[in-house]
């Protein structure tokens, strides 16, 4: 659906998305999430106890549009994909209302305007079931524990850091710098070439450098960005590697031992 943090727990068994309608057309909403327009559509079809191969398109379209309106009334941001689906439903509905072309030959096979939608629903439903299977597998897996860390793990556990990890560290520092009191001081900006030269000299002197500490030394956003690019450049050109010992932990810039 709409972009949102993916952190809440979703329990397949407990929290089925559901719309609760009372007698007076006023719909109340039981909080729940539909994973997408196809999910909502499947729900409505099942709710109406309709045959998926013979969808009562007028009724389902009404229900669907009603639900979308309800979401709007409740100020829930309706994702564009949900609106696209209502347009498609209305299109199918209107196609089905049109009389058959009298000039068409009798034996000409007319495709059911609902066919494409049915195919999509069936395809989607397979993956929905697969998602449930994955959910169950991960639940079982969470009941299995591997042994606790032994001492040598820390020495060996060098998870090689990805650009993604680098960005995370960078963002952490950048976010912290945002809150700093800003003083407008004209300072000489350091060029990328200088930054690379300085960092290179330094890394080969100390052989190991914390990126968090290094980024922390930078005074401006511009310098931070330059430093970040310098790190990428050095990793690419020199025998230096990035090492992260813990997920989301600090990343170390490390000189690789000479392979002679």
């Amino acid at each position: 659906m709409q972009p949102q943090p993916e952190k809440y727990n979703f329990d397949f068994k407990k929290e089925t998305a559901e719309i609760v309608a009372d007698s007076h057309e006023a719909l109340s909403l039981k909080l729940g999430e539909f994973a997408g327009p196809l999910d909502l559509l499947l729900y409505l079809i099942r709710q109406e106890q309709a045959d998926i191969f013979d969808i009562p398109i007028a009724r389902i379209t009404d229900e669907y549009v009603k639900y979308i309106r309800l979401m709007k009334d409740l100020d829930i941001a309706v994702a564009a994909d949900f609106l696209v689906m209502s347009a498609q439903l209305i299109e199918i509905k209107s196609k089905m209302l049109l009389p058959r072309d009298p000039l068409a030959e009798d034996d000409e096979e007319i495709e059911d305007p609902r066919k494409e939608l049915v195919d999509r629903l069936l395809e989607y439903e397979k993956f929905k079931s697969a998602a449930q299977m994955l959910y169950e597998k991960s639940t079982i897996e969470q009941a299995v524990f591997r042994r606790g860390k032994i001492e040598s793990d820390d020495a060996n556990a060098e998870i090689s850091a990805t650009v993604f990890d680098l960005l995370t560290v960078f963002q952490k520092v950048a976010a912290r710098h945002k809150d700093d009191i800003k003083m407008e001081i004209q300072r000489e900006e350091i060029s990328l070439a200088d930054m690379i030269r300085d960092l290179k000299k330094r890394i080969f002197e100390v052989s190991e450098l914390s990126l968090l500490a290094f980024f922390e030394e930078m005074h401006s956003h511009r310098e931070l960005v330059t430093a970040f690019i310098a790190v990428l450049e050095i990793v690419r050109t020199e025998s230096v590697k990035l090492v992260q010992k813990k997920t989301f932990g600090d990343i170390l810039l490390k000189v690789e031992p000479k392979t002679t």
Binding site: N9, G36, R120, F127, Q142, F145
Partner: protein, 191 residues
């Protein structure tokens, strides 16, 4: 590891019991599931001997009411606790199961697992909804990885599942996933 392997390979052949013990010890200290290939290399034995030793271990753990199990996951072998003791373990560790993935993320992961390598538009086609935030979550959790670009208009990024995916879902390999067509009957009958 490879330096040790050549060193160890020169040792004289050991007895079967010895080999079973050595395999058990290595599987125990290994940080990640150990492959048969690596075990064979390190112990200087052929793969068949290692496989036999593993098989022996697996049944031994099963037969003696152990709280542990030797199991195959992500293409290697691992020592882990049995599921039935999870409550006792959680009480001891004082931890709770970590946050589960959202429905949207699970669906996206399912599409990627079955259709990989797959692009964002292809995922949209199946799910009927934008999956950007779900993909971001899955990348952060390292369950999926990028697999280059598709050589088509716009060269969209391709995504596939990672080794971490196999680990977190307790799968030996991708082959272990039931075929997507198996869900068809199920899907039809639910409607």
């Amino acid at each position: 590891m490879s330096e040790q392997a050549t060193e160890m390979a020169e040792q004289p052949a050991r007895s079967t019991t010895d080999l079973v013990g050595a395999v058990e010890a290595i599987v125990f200290v290994a940080d990640e599931p150990v492959t048969i290939k690596l075990l064979a290399e390190v112990l200087g034995e052929d793969k068949q001997a290692i496989e036999a030793a593993i098989e022996h271990l697996v049944s031994e753990y099963e037969n003696r009411d152990s709280g542990l199990q030797i199991r195959e996951v992500a293409g290697g072998w691992q020592i882990a606790t049995k599921t039935e003791y999870h409550e006792e373990i959680r009480n001891f560790l004082k931890t709770r199961p970590s946050a589960k993935l959202s429905l949207a993320a699970l669906e996206t992961l399912a599409v990627i697992a079955y259709k990989q390598p797959v692009t964002v538009p292809e995922i949209l086609e199946i799910r009927g909804v934008q999956s950007a935030s779900a993909i971001k979550t899955l990348l952060e959790k390292r369950l999926i990885v990028t697999k280059g670009h598709k050589e088509t208009v716009g060269r969209p990024m391709l995504y596939g599942t990672s080794k971490e995916f196999l680990l977190q879902f307790g799968l030996k390999d991708l082959e272990e996933l039931p075929s997507i067509e198996d869900f068809e009957d199920l899907a039809g009958s639910m409607a």
